[in-house]
């Protein structure tokens, strides 16, 4: 259990850094991005074009495909949601 939490924490930190690096967000630090705050509009202030870049970066890093816009919206709701989406993607389907 502790291992999972640790991995989730690490994954969230990794995603925050990835967003900052991919979108060249020079004024924002990892510590300033809240896990449950919306990434778009009122949260980090990202828009749909930023989302395209993030989708491509996430797909490449984690070898997953996001084809559907609704799936993308759910996945990119927040850092927590994105981490969960990626972790769920790795779980074997039973």
């Amino acid at each position: 259990m502790e291992n999972t939490v640790k991995n989730t924490v690490q994954l969230r930190e990794f995603l925050k850094k990835m967003i900052i690096d991919t979108l060249l967000l020079e004024d924002i630090t990892v510590a300033e991005i809240e896990n449950n705050a919306p990434l778009f509009r009122e949260g980090l202030g990202l828009d749909s074009i930023d989302a395209l870049e993030l989708v491509v970066a996430i797909e490449k890093k984690f070898n997953i495909i996001i084809e559907d816009e609704d799936v993308g919206k759910t996945a990119f709701a927040s850092i927590s949601a994105l981490a969960k989406f990626i972790q769920d993607g790795f779980q074997p389907v039973h």
Binding site: I49, E53, V56
Partner: protein, 246 residues
């Protein structure tokens, strides 16, 4: 060698204008992938001509209106070449009939090849361009798109759609280092126009202010310009190469 080692796709790149575009890029050092739908003979000829210029080329037999054909072709190219820098959506067909005689198949086939083909190829390569924050998409439209022409409701609609597609995608991609433009060739000397009889040729020539048909290389030159670093700040534009026709 302005395009040295750039990876280019030219749809319909084995005949006419597309062939000229493919060869022009190859002469400038680019790696060129081209597809064709059915004319094996022209494809074989183009293959030989490209081989004389570069070892880095691929010819595919693929229907631009088939999602599976397009995705398979793009996957092969990206697996081998890693990315695509420039996409030229050139493949196009005509099937001219007055609307009263234009059946649903005549309509759909032209729209599918010209407009859906442009969408399918653009969509299939867009992620690789976004990932590298660089890309050039150049679509081929026609004076018929904005001027209209009797007997070309299907063709003109498809080419008009390409103009709208170009302008919209340009706005989506502008921030990501990807430009999207179109070239609008007038009447160009190709196998298609070579078959016209002399009287019709004279009639067409009389309507062109420059009093001559265009050459495929002149269209290719415009495409290469829009693909070049010098055109980095140009996007969403339609460049006419038509001797003053429009």
């Amino acid at each position: 060698m302005e395009f040295k080692d750039k990876r280019i796709i030219v749809t319909g790149g084995t005949r006419g204008i597309g062939k000229s575009i493919a060869l022009s890029f190859a002469h400038e050092g680019a790696w060129v992938a081209a597809n064709y739908s059915s004319d094996d003979e022209s494809a074989a000829t183009t293959e030989k001509e490209l081989a004389r210029v570069t070892p880095n080329f691929r010819i595919f037999k693929a229907d631009v209106s088939s999602r599976s054909d397009v995705e398979k072709m793009i996957k092969t190219i990206i697996d081998e070449w890693e990315h695509v820098d420039i996409l030229v959506n050139n493949a196009g067909i005509i099937n001219d009939k007055l609307l009263m005689f234009l059946n649903e198949d005549d309509w759909e086939r032209v729209i599918d090849v010209n407009l859906k083909g442009t969408y399918l190829f653009s969509r299939a390569i867009i992620k690789t361009m976004i990932g590298r924050k660089f890309g050039r998409i150049i679509n081929i439209t026609s004076p018929s798109a904005l001027q209209g022409r009797a007997g070309q409701t299907n063709y003109a609609a498809s080419k008009g759609g390409i103009i709208s597609f170009t302008k919209s995608l340009a706005k989506e991609m502008a921030r990501l280092g990807i430009t999207v433009n179109a070239v609008s060739p007038g009447v160009i000397t190709t196998p298609m126009t070579a078959n016209l009889n002399q009287e019709i040729k004279c009639d067409i020539t009389d309507r062109i202010p420059m009093r001559r048909l265009g050459r495929p290389e002149e269209v290719a030159a415009a495409v290469l310009f829009l693909a070049s670093p010098e055109a980095a700040y140009i996007t969403g534009q339609i460049l006419a190469v038509d001797g003053g026709l429009t």
